[in-house]
Homo-oligomer: 361 residues x 2
């Protein structure tokens, strides 16, 4: 993550993984999920925090989930239905479940189909926030598969290049592949210049955003470094930013995520489906194409070449997607997760209010 | 395309589609391809020129193909071998064929597998330039499928973010989906800021390139608008450009194309495979997930929302990937293809030299 999204050291409270996990588990059970399903949802959330992806962890998301279960918009006991199915594919109706509640099971099904036929994919309509996409692609990596995940997260955030009316949400895409000795390649990005959640983080921390990240309401890109404006007073640009800088490419990938998730699942394009989200998960069985050992050896060769690349002036090292997250996970497993003290305070007062019987740190 | 890549009107010679097609067909036959296979290769090349993608048409590529057949690096009569196969997948050894010679057949096989099982993919190693990727994804659109194509085109062009040693080629990705009344969504991009071929075009036309497109050899991004430097004196940035502008996302997609094409096919990462290219084509049968008519109706809804989006100040209209190319094809079918006169002169002198018996316009 860019520096402006990190919690300043003076505001950090280190919470051991088990404490964070126990607290989140208690919340999901209180919301009405069966214990094993609460554990699945918890694992998605805590894996985000361990990987340094706190925009999708407890800090930003848990209070929002509590509100949404509380007002009935999320269904804690969904009756998930299979709408259509083939050798390699399934389309589900998620029955207003939280995406990260049923997402791991969707990927399991995609992988089972891939195990038998070489590839498998599940498209899910009528569901909610999916959490950190990397999680699902890591499930595939564990089974010697290539994993893909995409989400259509509404349509109120991102304008098309040269446009002024938002058509897409942050429409994220993730892709992962296993290696042998090197940490796996795990790519997970919003197709906006920045995830919406990260704007929330930046606002809390008081950081500015970069030129070419957002637009005025008339579609004019804001090309200065500014404070995060109020929600409703700006729209977001696709990644790349302006046309000259490749913004039309980010725009295209946003459309792909909207098509593969929203249109293919039957949820409809994000801008119509609005608060009903949809997602698409897919697994490729490597062995269907090539010997797995040879594949992983080639992945090591590629990832070593990237990680050992001679840095440009002003930089210490070269990274690849998944490498810093892997290192961060090891650190946080050992030392605890650095939450903002405001988050810990919130958790403890919420826990008292809901009588959860757990505290942090 | 950006304005700096268009042939100035005073230098244009309009060549009717049939003339361009006949000329290209004669070239491929002279190179040793059987007539039907020459027709396939010709169709890929002329479709590029019709869509306004002249970077991948006659102008830049044909003379290069002639040289490469001439010096024996391309095999005009390849013995393509199936290395591995499953219900949904195949891995081919392309026997040094030109990619656009065997690419359409690879996509046919992927679609046949998708027809039966819902999805199909073919990974090809040991092949050469693939031409315009959009072509293969359009094959899928014709059969009510979603099409995907990726290429690992060597490793000598693009540095990773913060790096100085090139690891990737332009590693393009294409994705297309059919609509009903609207022209299909057809996305086809290099994962560099700009296709290498387009730098050649810009050089011929004398245009400058934009800030954040390329780097010095030590990895420092060039942040001014400059003339296209000599080959060998710069490296390319992933699309997005700098880290703050989303360049790490373009970098990730470059790695995905390298993994899905190079590593999965057994060709190896592009930086090792060098002049042996590899590609990956895939088809999703829409009907495996959802009723095709409903899918297309939703695509119309999405694409109309994009095309009718209120433009930002300073812009006339909003486009989506595939829309301008569709319009350009109609224009060029009617009026001819606007080649640079230098290209037409080259074609005619080459034709005389090889005794092809065809001329342009």
């Amino acid at each position: 993550m860019l520096k402006q999204f990190l919690v300043p050291e003076k505001d950090q409270v280190l919470v051991p993984e088990e404490k964070a996990r126990a607290g989140t588990q208690a919340v999901f059970e209180k919301m009405g999920l069966p214990p094993d399903e609460a554990a699945t949802s918890t694992d998605v959330l805590i894996t985000s925090d361990l990987r340094g992806c706190e925009s999708h962890g407890i800090s930003n998301m848990l209070r929002y989930y509590i509100t949404s279960y509380g007002d009935g918009s999320y269904n804690p006991r969904p009756n998930v239905k299979t709408v259509r199915e083939s050798n390699t594919s399934a389309t589900w109706d998620g029955d207003r479940s939280l995406g990260l509640h049923i997402g791991p099971g969707a990927m399991e099904l995609a992988m089972d189909k891939a195990e038998e036929h070489g590839m498998g994919a599940v498209a899910v309509k009528n569901t909610k926030h999916f959490g950190m996409l990397a999680y699902y692609t890591l499930q595939a990596v564990e089974r010697d598969m290539i994993g893909v995940a995409m989400v259509s997260a509404g349509g109120g955030a991102m304008v098309p290049i040269f446009g002024s009316e938002p058509v897409f949400g942050t429409q994220p895409i993730a892709w992962a592949a296993p290696a042998d000795k090197m940490p796996p390649f795990v790519f997970d990005v919003a197709t906006t210049q920045v995830a919406a959640n990260k704007l929330g983080l930046a606002k809390r921390i008081g950081s500015k955003i970069e030129p070419g990240w957002i637009t005025e309401l008339d579609g004019t890109p804001i090309m200065e470094s500014v404070d995060v404006p109020e929600y409703g007073s700006f729209n977001m640009l696709p990644f790349g930013g302006t046309r000259e800088n490749g913004g039309h490419k980010g725009y295209g990938f946003a459309a792909i995520a909207d098509i593969m998730s929203g249109v293919l699942s039957g949820n409809g394009p994000g801008f119509i489906a609005d608060r009903s989200y949809s997602f698409f998960v897919m697994a490729y069985k490597i062995d269907a194409f090539r010997d797995v050992g040879e594949f992983k050896a080639d992945m090591d060769t590629l990832l070593e070449k990237l990680a050992n690349n001679k840095p440009a002036p002003g930089h210490d090292r070269v990274l690849y997607a998944g490498l810093p997250e892997h290192e961060e996970t090891e650190l946080r497993r050992a030392n605890g997760i650095p939450y903002h003290r405001e988050v810990v305070d919130w958790f403890n007062s919420m826990s008292a209010e809901l009588d959860l019987g757990v505290t942090m740190p």
